[in-house]
């Protein structure tokens, strides 16, 4: 254990390295034991901040009992001496003494300046204090005859840091817990809280205690007793760490390998400095270089030295590490052993090139560095000699390294040189210029180095700087995947994690580690303390004005406009452009991807986590007010520029309101912010809804609802709009529930138009659900409420929607009545949408009664009017037109084009019910052409949507197609089951055309499985539907299908009756498919050769329409007729042709049937 041991320091006067424990400079003799080497961080003149800090309380025990025996002045002197010594330990590790409270010290690590390892610093300081206490006790015991003891408590947590009164301090529960832990600590011991333990477990060994009951804490508090702290040079314990694979660094590794190869070949040194932000993978790259050393057959090895993050007074520490490692010197070795080891390793090497005495002189300063100076060789320290001593030291190091590199190329790895003392940086620079040996110096540094040494490694052929950038997104994602796999953790947010990690492998590793430890599948929001600490330290290193800008920018978001920072610059009086340039230099910001209309460039945080940490550090009250300021700024600057702008303003005001409530701002201020948030949330919802961004709209409305505080009118208005977008998203039940609440509210106020409109909406939603009867009732109620009022849009829509519902069940009288009413009113109001609907209904009714020309004319007019209205309407009009082209004209290509256009529109506006219908319509067209893959994919997509959105009624459409797929496979039971379900669902909706389609498909399955009577019964039901709903074209198909079944059942009279009915019905309508079916039916019953002529005509028509299944059927029927006519050869040919066609279409059962017939 090396706890708390004073570290090697440089002389404050001459800079000469001082050995561990030295009280005077080895060169100039200046006293070293006084002030700590690094100054304590001073509170910045910043306002309050939320910070994660580690708080240390130390209490001096044991003097009260003897105090009565001592003079007050003696007691004061004694306590002061101890406390001052403890303060030195705090400051040595970068902490800040917050206050002395009697014999108690409170210290804070992480405020006002954070370090990435504040918890470790605090625990090390605690060990340092105990060691100091031991030192002090030896004097106290000698002088006064008693000992003092120390209890220490350390705890990590969030606090509010800022000025209270005249002094800077921290407040929060973490402070109280630290004080309580100190009270509970044993004499001479240190207790730490859970977060401190977790963050220092790599370097401190602990004993877990039973959770403690601490004063003022409702629940027991977990506590650990710190037993020992590892050496500063100890490698982090790898036990629980994930090991990131090297991904995305091939180029950089190849560059290093190339440099090493050149160094070895040219026998000349090179200095390469790899610069990159913390965690970007510098050490990982170095480790990979080390792993590959010697793989290419060249002789090389690596010496490593790390600079310490704390105790800036520790000089040449990485060199000490290298020499100890090279010479086999342990940290606790006594001076004699150190000298012996140095001589053993270095003398033979040096003596090969120079006299032994000279070699010994080279080793002497190195021995001094290691605290093992030979007193007989102590130098004299005048000014000139101080300089000489430094050059002599550097020279000695150079010669030693050249000697080490004499046999094989050497890699000197200097890690974290941004923390290096000036001497180390000078030494590295010196070596890069004066070494005459194959030595590749690899320095790893963060960007801060370039702030300290702007000209580092520039303008020299033997030195280069490589900037290691964050991983590319695809590499980051691959890394996350690999880490998740290695840890056994599961996360569905692989890409979200990758984005959040911003290409930083360390952050990726830490976050996956956290997920792995917490077993969470979705944790991406919380920042591990390790990452938080790293980034907070970076922020604290910024200039105060830069820091102010970053804090304000954090409120704006990851990206922002430069001008948004102007108000901050104006108040602070800072030079904005220069500060932003500096922040770009420091890799905090980078130029964004776009410019605004005025050409102003966007800026962005380079890493979203930096923004997050800066944001989290702001107190909630400050966040509330800053968000409000930003909201107002955007609103004034950008005005109403669409959804994005208003949503952004809404977001800022909402956050302002939320933080105002959390921070308990004055009620009037908080309520004003809430009101603004509510107003803009609603406006954002409206803007999103107008763009059919339905999910976003619903999100805004829900957020607005959460902000309500008794504003009843607003609540009802938002509820109604929420219902509107919920319906668009297919969330029918929630929509109805919302509207029913609104209906009651407006009915109580006698607002007839509004109530009628809500009836209309509820009716439409019920129609979506397939509850047609209830839907019509709502429309009727709406109509009756306002039919005697002035004409209104609501009344128009009530009529046209009612007409649509009537038409679906084949009630042509009411459909025409309602649509005539709608059209008349629409024209009087100039309402394109309703007029479009009315023409759509007329078109469908004309289609039904067989007037194809009028049907098309009306449907095209409907599309034209819909395009003038809105996209939702256009979808419906295109669907209706496509339907007409398909059924009335047999123009499947034209129908497909309309369906696809409508589908693209429906997808764009999130119109789910229409998507379900359109996908099924495309599946139907694919069925006509025997494209089974398309049938499957389109019907599956349709079914998935219907199931996902709970639109059960609409499942009838894809289920018909799925039933047909099972038919094709000869899976009769599954086919019947699906088709029966489709029929039932369609019945429930009252959708007669779909009921008919389901029955027709069901009859085909029953026919082909040989259940001819059942098939005939099913067709009877189909005809009843046609009769009830006036489906004349469909009735032709049903009669034709009946004819075939009667033929198969060998019931010629019935076949004749059915064929005649088919032909009669086909004369009443213009329906190409119906005409072909009627020809086919007659061909089945006519005598030869007329029968063949009819069947050939039918075959030609099916071929023209593009329906190969029907073509094959005609071929088979011709074969049958020829076979019955004893024309065996021709019959067999036709049947084989039919079999071949069915083979090509993948309908094996019909192909087999055709072959059977050919063979019989």
């Amino acid at each position: 254990m090396a706890c708390g041991t004073a570290l090697t320091a440089n002389c404050p006067s001459c800079g000469t390295p001082a050995p561990a424990g030295a009280r005077f400079c080895i060169s100039c003799g200046t006293a070293l034991g006084g002030a700590p080497a690094s100054a304590a961080p001073q509170p910045a003149a910043t306002s309050e901040e939320r910070r994660t800090v580690t708080v240390l309380f130390a209490d001096l025990s044991g003097y009260t009992s003897v105090a009565e025996r001592l003079d007050h002045e003696t007691v004061k002197m004694l306590i002061e001496r101890c406390l001052n010594r403890f303060a030195e330990e705090v400051e040595r590790f970068g902490g800040r003494v917050d206050k002395f409270i009697g014999d108690n010290v409170m210290a804070v690590f992480g405020a006002p300046v954070a370090h990435e390892d504040d918890p470790e610093r605090a625990v090390r300081a605690a060990f340092g204090m105990h060691a100091a206490m031991a030192e002090l006790n030896s004097d106290i015991a000698a002088q006064f005859g008693f000992d003092l003891a120390l209890r220490v408590g350390v705890n990590t947590g969030e606090v509010l840091a800022g000025r209270v009164g005249d002094s800077y301090t921290v407040l929060g529960d973490a402070v109280n817990v630290a004080a309580r832990l100190q009270s509970a600590a044993p004499l001479g011991g240190t207790l730490v809280g859970e977060r401190t333990q977790r963050l220092t477990a790599k370097v401190v060994s602990y004993r877990e205690l039973e959770p403690l009951e601490l004063k003022g804490k409702a629940e027991r508090v977990s506590a650990w007793e710190a037993l020992a702290v590892g050496s500063l040079e100890q490698e982090p314990a790898p036990a629980t760490r994930l090991t990131a694979p090297l991904i995305g660094r091939d180029e950089e590794l190849a560059r290093l390998e190339g440099l090493l190869e050149r160094v070895a070949r040219e026998h000349a040194p090179h200095l390469v400095t790899i610069v990159g932000q913390a965690g970007v993978g510098k050490s990982r790259l170095l480790a990979e270089l080390e792993r590959t050393l010697g793989e290419d057959g060249t002789q090389s090895r690596l010496l490593r030295g790390r600079c310490l993050a704390f105790g800036q007074g520790v000089v040449y520490w990485p060199l000490i590490e290298m020499i100890r490692s090279e010479c086999g010197i342990a940290e606790g070795d006594d001076p004699a052993t150190v000298r012996e080891r140095l001589n053993e390793r270095l003398l033979p090497l040096l003596s090969a090139h120079e006299e032994a005495d000279q070699a010994e002189r080279r080793i002497a300063p190195i021995a001094r560095l290691l605290g093992a100076a030979d007193s007989s060789r102590e130098p004299v320290a005048d000014k000139q000699e101080q300089q000489d001593a430094r050059e002599s030291f550097f020279g000695a190091v150079r010669v030693v390294i050249e000697a080490l590199a004499a046999q094989e190329a050497l890699v000197l790895a200097w890690e974290d040189i941004h923390w290096a003392d000036e001497g180390t940086l000078d030494l590295i620079d010196y070596l890069s210029r004066w070494l005459r040996a194959p030595v590749l110096q690899v320095c790893l540094a963060r960007d801060e180095l370039l702030g300290r040494r702007p000209g580092w490694s520039t303008m020299r052929r033997t030195a280069t700087v490589t900037f290691l950038e964050p991983l590319a997104p695809e590499d980051a994602q691959a890394l996350i995947r690999e880490l998740l796999r290695a840890s056994g953790a599961i996360s569905e947010q692989e890409s979200a994690l990758a984005e959040r990690c911003g290409g930083n492998p360390l952050f990726a590793e830490e976050m996956v580690q956290r997920i792995s430890e917490e077993g969470s599948a979705t944790t991406t929001a919380e920042l591990p303390d390790t990452v938080q600490g790293l980034l907070a330290a970076r922020l604290d290193a910024l200039e105060p004005f830069e820091r102010q800008l970053v804090s304000h920018a954090a409120i704006l978001g990851r990206t922002f406009w430069e001008s948004a920072l102007e108000p901050v610059a104006a108040v602070a009086g800072g030079e904005l452009s220069a500060a932003l340039a500096s922040l770009r230099e420091k890799d905090i910001l980078l130029p964004g991807e776009s410019r605004d209309a005025g050409g102003e460039r966007e800026l962005a945080f380079k890493h979203v986590l930096i923004r997050d940490v800066a944001y989290e550090m702001l107190p909630k009250a400050v966040r509330a007010r800053k968000h409000a300021e930003v909201g107002e700024f955007i609103q004034q600057r950008l005005g109403a520029r669409g959804e994005g702008t208003v949503a952004l303003v809404a977001e800022h005001y909402s956050r302002a309101a939320a933080f105002a409530a959390e921070a308990h701002l004055p009620a009037a201020e908080a309520d004003q912010l809430r009101g603004l948030a509510l107003r803009y949330r609603e406006a954002a919802g409206d803007a999103a809804a107008s763009l059919y961004s339905n999910r976003e709209a619903l999100f805004h409305y829900e957020a607005a609802t959460a902000l309500l505080d008794g504003e009843i009118d607003t609540a009802e208005r938002i509820a109604e709009k929420s219902g509107d977008v919920a319906l668009r998203l297919g969330r029918v039940d929630p929509a109805i529930e919302l509207w029913e609440g609104c209906l009651e509210y407006h009915a109580e106020r006698g607002e007839l138009q509004h109530v009628a409109e809500l009836h209309r909406k509820i009716g439409a939603a019920l129609a979506h659900k397939g509850e047609r009867k209830s839907a019509i009732e709502h429309h009727q109620q709406g109509i009756n409420l306002i039919k005697d009022e002035e004409p209104s849009l609501t009344l128009v829509r009530l009529y046209e929607e009612a007409a649509w519902l009537y038409m679906q069940v084949g009630d042509n009288m009411l459909a025409i009545y309602a649509s005539e009413k709608a059209l008349r009113l629409a024209e009087s109001l100039g309402e394109a949408r309703a007029a479009s609907r009315a023409h759509g209904i007329f078109g469908r009714v004309f289609g039904r009664i067989g007037d194809a020309a009028k049907a098309r004319e009306n449907l095209e007019r409907a599309v034209e009017l819909a395009r003038q209205s809105d996209e939702e309407e256009t979808v419906l009009a295109l669907l209706a037109l496509g339907h007409n082209l398909e059924h009335s004209e047999g123009d499947y290509a034209g129908a497909g084009a309309r369906y696809r256009e409508a589908l693209a529109l429906a997808e764009r506006i999130d119109e789910l019910p229409a998507q379900i219908e359109l996908l099924s319509a495309l599946a139907q067209l694919a069925f006509y052409r025997g494209d089974w893959d398309e049938v499957r994919s389109a019907s599956d997509a349709s079914a998935r949507l219907a199931e996902r959105e709970g639109l059960v009624g609409k499942l009838c459409l894809p289920n018909i197609m799925r039933g047909r797929l099972r038919w094709r496979e000869g899976d009769w039971d599954a086919s019947e089951s699906l088709l029966s379900s489709a029929r039932e669902l369609a019945d429930r909706i009252g959708w007669s055309e779909v009921t008919f389609s389901a029955l027709m498909a069901l009859a085909a399955t029953q026919r082909d499985r040989g259940a001819l009577d059942r098939a005939q019964g099913t067709l009877g039901e189909a005809l009843a539907v046609c009769e009830r709903a006036g489906l004349v074209p469909q009735s032709v198909q049903a009669h034709a299908a009946r004819t075939l079944i009667a033929i198969l059942a060998e019931r010629p009279a019935e076949a004749r009756e059915a064929a005649t009915a088919a032909e009669e019905a086909s004369k009443r309508v213009h329906d190409p498919a119906g005409a072909a079916a009627a020809q086919e039916a007659v061909g089945m019953i006519e005598p030869m050769p007329e029968a063949l002529e009819r069947l050939q005509a039918a075959r030609a028509e099916w071929l023209r329409l593009g329906r190969p299944l029907e073509v094959a059927r005609c071929e088979m029927l011709m074969g049958r007729r020829m076979r019955d006519d004893r024309n065996g050869g021709a019959a067999a040919d036709a049947l084989r042709d039919a079999a071949s066609m069915y083979d090509q279409l993948g309908v094996a059962h019909l192909a087999a049937r055709a072959r059977e017939l050919a063979a019989s």
Partner: protein, 143 residues
Amino acid sequence: MSQGNLELLLAGLDAFNSGDVERILTFVDPQFEVSIPRELSAEPDTYRGHEGVRRYFETFAEAMTDIRFHAERVWTAGEDLVVEVLLTASGRQTGIPVEQRVFLVWTVRGGKALKVQTYPSLEPALASAGLPHDPGRPDYQRA
């Protein structure tokens, strides 16, 4: 049974078909009431008195033309008449011909129609007039 009531009915329907509301009103009691159920109208409602009759026909005529009430079959039940009517009409703008079958129960008082109840099927109409499920041969059947 009242032959007079049957004649009144047929004459009344003839008046309906004329589209002349004033003529229609001569067959209608001032206390007249007609109810149209949900199944048979987009605006199910009860129309009362002469004003109600006017409103009913005006509303109908806004959307439809060539409105004809064809009495297909009639059964008498005391002062009541059960009438199967085929209503035909055409869309006013589209000219699309449509039809609807309705079942009416007429209540006649003092030689004028006092009340008309409308049903979508025969059974409830018969039941309403107190006639059996199978009422036998109609008292009137359209040729």
